[in-house]
């Protein structure tokens, strides 16, 4: 039910998520932040049921912290993506079972290169320039493919995200009124509400 979608620009990535949390026919909350900040230059948008979403993102966050303090530096984007993928892959055939959630990892390395990764609960990992998790894919992949071009600047990127949000609000059966958008650049992570 969660919509997570993302796009990569020239020197930034944007990940957006819907804010709604549902329970049966009820909408409990409409501004839940499903994008966890892992570091000062990477974020992880996770889609799945509440507990799995929270547990998984916190688990990844604390393990990445541990690696950061143990080794003295934080992992880069590619390493982080593969680390998360490995956690998914180990869990899938474990006693405790798979992590019932899918994610999109986005961030900008120290040298300024942005990257976006699509991961799912089976342990698949794919580097992407635009993508989505959940039902959002059905509605937005076409739109994202259409609008995307190489080296988008920040304004163009935000415009595309706005178009995506409009599409979801118009066509998706489940009403998702508020979207949290996180913009990651080399220097900062900005959050806006759309």
């Amino acid at each position: 039910m969660d919509s997570i979608f993302a796009i990569q620009g020239k020197d930034y990535v944007i990940i957006a998520c819907d804010g709604s949390v549902g329970f049966s026919i009820l909408k409990i909350k409409d501004l839940e932040d499903k994008i966890t900040v892992l570091d000062d230059n990477k974020v992880l948008g996770v889609s799945g049921e509440g507990a799995d979403r929270n547990n998984f993102s916190e688990f990844i966050h604390k393990n990445l912290n541990l690696i950061k303090y143990r080794t003295g530096n934080a992992l880069g984007m590619n390493e982080t993506a593969n680390f998360i993928r490995y956690q998914y892959a180990q869990a899938i055939r474990s006693r405790s079972g798979p992590h019932n959630c899918n994610s999109i990892l986005g961030g900008v390395d120290k040298d300024g290169t942005p990257s976006l990764f699509w991961l799912d609960y089976l342990g698949a990992l794919q580097k992407i320039t635009r993508g989505a998790q959940g039902y959002a894919g059905y509605f937005l992949l076409g739109l994202l493919d259409n609008q995307y071009k190489k080296d988008l600047n920040l304004e163009e990127g935000i415009e595309i995200i706005k178009k995506c949000i409009h599409e979801m609000q118009t066509r998706f059966l489940i009403s998702q009124s508020k979207f949290i958008v996180k913009i990651v650049t080399k220097d900062e992570i900005k959050q806006i509400l759309l």
Partner: protein, 229 residues
Amino acid sequence: MSYDTAITVFSPDGQLFQVEYAMEAVKRGLCCVGVRGKDVVVLGVEKKATSKLQDVKTIKKIYQLDHNLCMTFSGLNADARILANQTRVECQSYKLNYEDDPTVDYIAKYTSQTQQKYTQKGGARPFGISTLIAGFDGPQKPKIFQTDPSGACSEWKATALGKSGKQVKDYLEKNWKEGLSEADAVLLTVKALMDVVESGNRNIEVCVVAFNGVRFLSEAEIDALTKAQ
């Protein structure tokens, strides 16, 4: 279950010699100093290059345990690394379970508890280090704790460990006062170390722990401070 593999056992007159020998190892270790200021804690430690070929810059004796928590030590280098790594795991584990950062005294108690466990463990010896753990309980609440091989843990305003620790502690007792600024705390730490360390920035590592994060002084800054003495 084998109940006969204990190494640390009582002597007839009630002493745990292994623990006392471990404290001897600490007393022989290189000096380390901790000074609490108004809103910083400064840790300083003596480094020794075993040969001119060794790159002293790469010896790190102040371990960052969390974003605003640091630990330094006197004693066996490798033991410190192990204890620091275990404590780092505990920091993250606490955050995973309780969301908030652990208090400094929680981490100090955890560290000292680990050290105590090894005085009652089969087949293992105690850790040969005493540690200084520096951090914050809140924005204006800096804290330093000291642990030792017996598992004792106590809070300090300023302290020193290792070789000539007593001498440095006397110096700190005379010169420490409440509410030191960052610059004054750094100066006091460096002066206290300079008393016992051979001069030259190659031999000192200094770290300032503030509520927002940790800052290791660069070679140039330490050079300037030591030259000014």
